[in-house]
């Protein structure tokens, strides 16, 4: 995963993963974890500064950590001005890179580019913090020299962000594990019963699976019912569909 930048780099990387993964089994403070992520990103990825935006429980983005006061201000600046690479990474769930904020690419965020320049940053990368489709924030990496981050460093930065994301979601999830398990069972059972209902309809009305699913959905919509409830009724033989509707 990328070559060592300096003596002790591998050990630092291993320790960082340990500390990030530690959140999975111990009580931890979210702010401490995020602060560590931003500081270690600077050390491990060879960037000048890092800042981190994270959604709170209501889904609002907040500045959670920064490796320096300048990067903290730049994160706040993005939130206040509603523009910047961190916001773009959060909105799209994809990494955003700008190798030269003074060049044409920097014009995407003119006010941000100007402010960053004032603090001495000329290149920036923003990595989403995500687990599958869920994006909970973004990690911003600031550099004082123009040019792209190497693919290895981008990959490593993303891995750090991913492990921290899992830790955070775990903290949120552990508080209601039982509810989650129940929801998991419900979701699984509804997937199963929907597939069964598709089979029932496909056989009964000589439909393809797609047509069967469309019939289920159409019935659910026109009767304002949940798809799972319609599927259950079909499997139980209580509803015929589609001809009988």
């Amino acid at each position: 995963m990328g070559g060592p930048l300096a003596p002790g780099w591998d050990q630092l990387l291993a320790r960082t993963f340990v500390a990030l993964a530690d959140t999975l089994v111990t009580d931890f403070d979210v702010i401490d974890l995020m602060q560590m992520l931003s500081e270690r990103s600077v050390e491990l990825l060879g960037v000048e500064a890092a800042g981190l935006l994270l959604t709170d429980r209501r889904g609002h983005l907040r500045v959670m950590a920064a490796s320096s006061e300048q990067s903290r201000l730049l994160e706040l600046f993005q939130l206040q001005n509603e523009q910047g690479p961190c916001l773009d990474a959060f909105k799209t769930g994809r990494p955003v890179h700008c190798a030269d904020l003074g060049g044409p690419e920097g014009r995407r965020w003119p006010r941000f580019a100007e402010q960053a320049h004032e603090y001495g940053f000329v290149a920036v990368s923003a990595l989403p913090m995500r687990l599958r489709e869920q994006v909970i924030g973004a990690l911003n990496l600031f550099r004082a020299v123009p040019g792209p981050l190497t693919p290895e460093m981008v990959g490593l930065g993303q891995a750090l962000a991913d492990v921290a994301t899992v830790g955070l979601l775990q903290a949120r999830a552990l508080q209601h594990a039982n509810v989650l398990i129940e929801q998991l069972q419900t979701a699984l059972n509804s997937r199963i019963v929907i597939e069964q209902a598709k089979g029932v309809l496909a056989q009964r009305h000589d439909l393809s699976m797609e047509q069967a699913f469309a019939a289920l959905r159409a019935h659910a919509r026109s009767h304002n019912l949940k798809l799972t409830d319609v599927a259950r009724a079909v499997v139980a033989g209580e509803v015929q569909l589609p001809g009988s509707v």
Binding site: M1, V18, A159, D162, A177, R191, G199, A202
Partner: protein, 238 residues
């Protein structure tokens, strides 16, 4: 507490996710598991009621072991799903194993699976699923490998539960590929063919698979593609 092994496994999982170009998911746990423990196949199933529902497999043997459990309804995974802890069988060809899981061992032998290690995904004494590791060769897991497997099962549980957060709040679960979908579609179709419940249809599908030495998925596909039809007469004809 987290130790070096946990850190290494996390790094492996992250590495797989990065290579795949997606965020960390259970499939990275399975892939990393195959690598960290040097097994020939990995399977991850969730529990739907008392039945196992396949979620992800790695390798031909991973698929075969999950299929064998689905078809026969016994085996280490089924036992781990209801028992107290990991279920380890270092030699599925031993007479002890054959007495314990007579049907499963037949299919395992046919598939070339000699050892199977099933780890429940558990939290607060609630079982959510099972992670199974299989090998061509007989032999027990080394102590370190056993430790790795426990770590992998914990991480898989965590991701499964977190995916759940995401499924409910963000995404349409029906857009996700669903490994066992055809089996349930086939059960629905056969229930109409037999004028019976889907549970009965499911049993008939499994019996057919076992008798014909086919996997449950293969039989289900034949039904869905209308190449196989069941009749109330116990012997289905193609």
């Amino acid at each position: 507490m987290v130790n070096e092994a946990q850190a290494r496994i996390w790094a492996l999982i992250s590495d797989h996710a990065v290579k795949r170009g997606g965020p960390i998911s259970v499939q990275d746990v399975c892939t990393a598991g195959a690598e960290a423990i040097a097994v020939d196949g990995v399977g991850l199933s969730l529990l739907a009621g008392r039945r196992l529902e396949p979620l992800h497999v790695v390798g031909r043997l991973g698929r075969e072991v999950v299929e064998a459990e689905l078809t026969t309804g016994d085996g280490p995974c089924v036992e781990a799903a209801t028992g107290d802890g990991p279920v380890l069988s270092e030699d599925l060809a031993s007479s002890a194993a054959e007495r314990r899981w007579p049907l499963f061992c037949q299919l395992a032998a046919a598939a070339g699976i000699r050892a199977a290690f099933a780890f429940p995904l558990m939290t607060q004494a609630v079982r959510v699923g099972v992670l199974v590791l299989v090998r061509h060769r007989p032999g027990a897991l080394a102590a370190a490998e056993y430790g790795h497997a426990l770590i992998l099962a914990d991480i898989a549980l965590l991701l499964v539960l977190n995916d759940q957060v995401q499924i409910n709040e963000w995404a349409d679960p029906l857009q996700e590929p669903f490994l066992g979908a055809e089996i349930h579609q086939a059960a629905g179709m056969v229930s109409v063919q037999l004028n019976a419940t889907v549970e009965h249809a499911h049993l008939r599908l499994r019996a057919h698979a076992f008798l014909h030495g086919e996997s449950l998925s293969q039989v289900a596909r034949q039904v869905v593609e209308r190449r196989l039809r069941f009749t109330p007469d116990p012997s289905p004809h193609a």
